[in-house]
Symmetry: C2
Subunit: 335 residues, 2 copies
């Protein structure tokens, strides 16, 4: 069996910087493009930083056709600053992190009231707002507690292009159904695992991410929405590489590295559920329609021939362990 995908997109990707960028960027080259997250140190917060980062990504990609949908780290901005951002080449939208909620988010937003004028101006200009939606509460409740904020934003700014990034709960899927002006991304791992896989047997650092994987009924709701072809649910890997020693240590960093396995694993998952006809929409069509995107044309063929996943990816002095390390996937990309 095989399937061809036209211009698959990863709507939520961390490529990092420096040697780690040089390692990870080519591992996303099967995608036609990706929304690039800005949580570097320091965060990508000006058009100039963004443009320089886009150039470093292009260089790390080694000539692969790849559309970089660049984001800026959200901070309250004037209308003039917003206009400058919107005019910058490659700009896609703003990524909003509540302060301290995940990797390199210390400079994030502390009070949504401070953001209102900026959000109003973004709404008027059609600039997308991508949100890491978690409270600082109990880890299993953080996303659910944040849904009230999404609800308030969607109500107060009805034309704002608001995206709930990497949703993990049945309640978020419900909210997606409730507000036609909200869209969402979902990762590979949240379609596949629950907290049981992270901490039900031995503790598995390479499956630990934020938001943490939730309950079985949450996974089922996410999977059902993805397989059912929900028009406002997009694949966003949230592939988040960390050096191996920062994952396998006493106090490991959050993030699952899925970029190099995402397309084969998605094909396998959708095939298992007889939903291969929904994969094109999930990995590209839905997002292109919602945001009006036109990425580079790239045809990717996926076949049900096995892919042996490496125990780690190593180059430029970096070592990163992917999801399914050392395992065999049933599908692979035909290169």
């Amino acid at each position: 069996m095989q399937i061809t995908l036209s211009s698959p997109l990863d709507m939520h990707l961390h490529l990092r910087d420096g040697d780690m960028l040089r390692l990870t960027a080519p591992l996303s080259a099967d995608f036609a493009g990706a929304v690039i997250m800005p949580n570097l140190v320091p965060p990508v917060s000006t058009p100039e930083m963004m443009q320089a980062y886009a150039e470093r990504i292009e260089s790390a990609m080694g000539g692969a056709d790849f559309t970089r949908y660049m984001t800026l780290f959200f901070t309250p901005l004037s209308e003039a600053q917003l206009d400058a951002a919107a005019a910058a080449p490659g700009f896609f939208g703003f990524k909003l992190y509540p302060a301290g909620i995940t990797t390199n988010s210390e400079g994030g937003l502390r009070d949504f009231a401070d953001a209102e004028p900026t959000l109003r101006a973004m709404e008027e200009r059609g600039i997308p707002l991508l949100v890491h939606g978690e409270s600082h509460g109990f880890v299993m409740d953080r996303e659910a507690e944040f849904l009230a904020t999404y609800r308030a934003l969607a109500t107060r700014f009805p034309k704002l292009k608001l995206c709930m990034e990497h949703i993990t709960t049945a309640a978020a899927v419900q909210l997606l159904d409730e507000f036609p002006n909200i869209c969402a991304t979902v990762t590979l791992q949240h379609l596949l695992i629950t907290l049981n896989d992270v901490a039900g047997g031995a503790l598995k650092p390479h499956l630990f991410c934020k938001p943490i994987a939730k309950r079985p009924e949450d996974k089922e709701a996410l999977l059902s929405a993805a397989l059912g072809g929900h028009p406002r649910l997009f694949f966003g890997s949230d592939s988040a590489p960390h050096p191996q020693h920062k994952k396998e240590c006493c106090g490991c960093a959050a993030g699952v590295f899925t970029a190099p396995v995402a397309l084969p694993a998605l094909a396998q998952l959708f095939a298992e559920h007889g939903a291969l006809d929904k994969l094109q929409g999930f990995v590209s069509g839905n997002a292109c329609r919602h945001y009006g995107l036109a990425p580079v044309e790239k045809i990717v063929t996926l076949r049900d021939t096995p892919m042996q996943v490496p125990a780690a990816y190593r180059s430029f002095g970096q070592t990163v362990v992917p999801m399914f390390a050392g395992e065999e996937l049933g599908w692979s990309v035909a290169h």
Copy 2:
């Protein structure tokens, strides 16, 4: 401030065997005694194995006065086998593990129906049954799902001395109130931490244990029962040492090593809540009364002078990382 405790007991302790036993045993010597768990490889399942293990513990204790309340790994037994166990020196009771539920429990019980005749005979003889009460379900629900089994056992065998080991949920505290023929142990860590501490920030292997730490309201219910002097709630550390490399690796083993910090940390916790008057009952009196125990006499003085917790305990080629490694506790044992 200081407090003297008379013959403190650890009602649930893993000492392991070999070099690890030689490292850990002396670190429990501030206690007058402990209920010793039998999940070695192979499990301690005959009076002969139990007696030999008790002797190895005595030797590892290096002459410290320490009452070993020995347990046998529960399997269905004949009445003659039960009588032989009950007659063995140092025998305290049986520890029941559902098969595969935690470290070295592969040979545990698969079907409670198989256990009924043995449980009836234990009830008649007054032999305690200590249970690791978890289902094989979703990690946050495992204890709650097992409560129906406790309820069935307490109803079917009303005179059986049934102990819910290392309880972690508000629902288990409720069950304790409901059935006067059930008692329970609770660990130090479950009075102090929730899943947030294990997986809410970075992943913390040294706070990962089974049952996993639960929700804030669960911790509050456990703490409230302990501080309130619940007469059938006993301190059981479930101190469960693993070699450092088996904790800080890709897929870490379950267990928190608390033996060397348990008494100071409990004193600090009870003092903070103005409940020092309840500590004697929690760490000794309640269990002695419930089980009719008379451990060796040992007076332990705890003072509010700091204890610097080592980053690790090392000897006999073993390295074990304790809870609060590298931190300072407000209280210490006066030696």
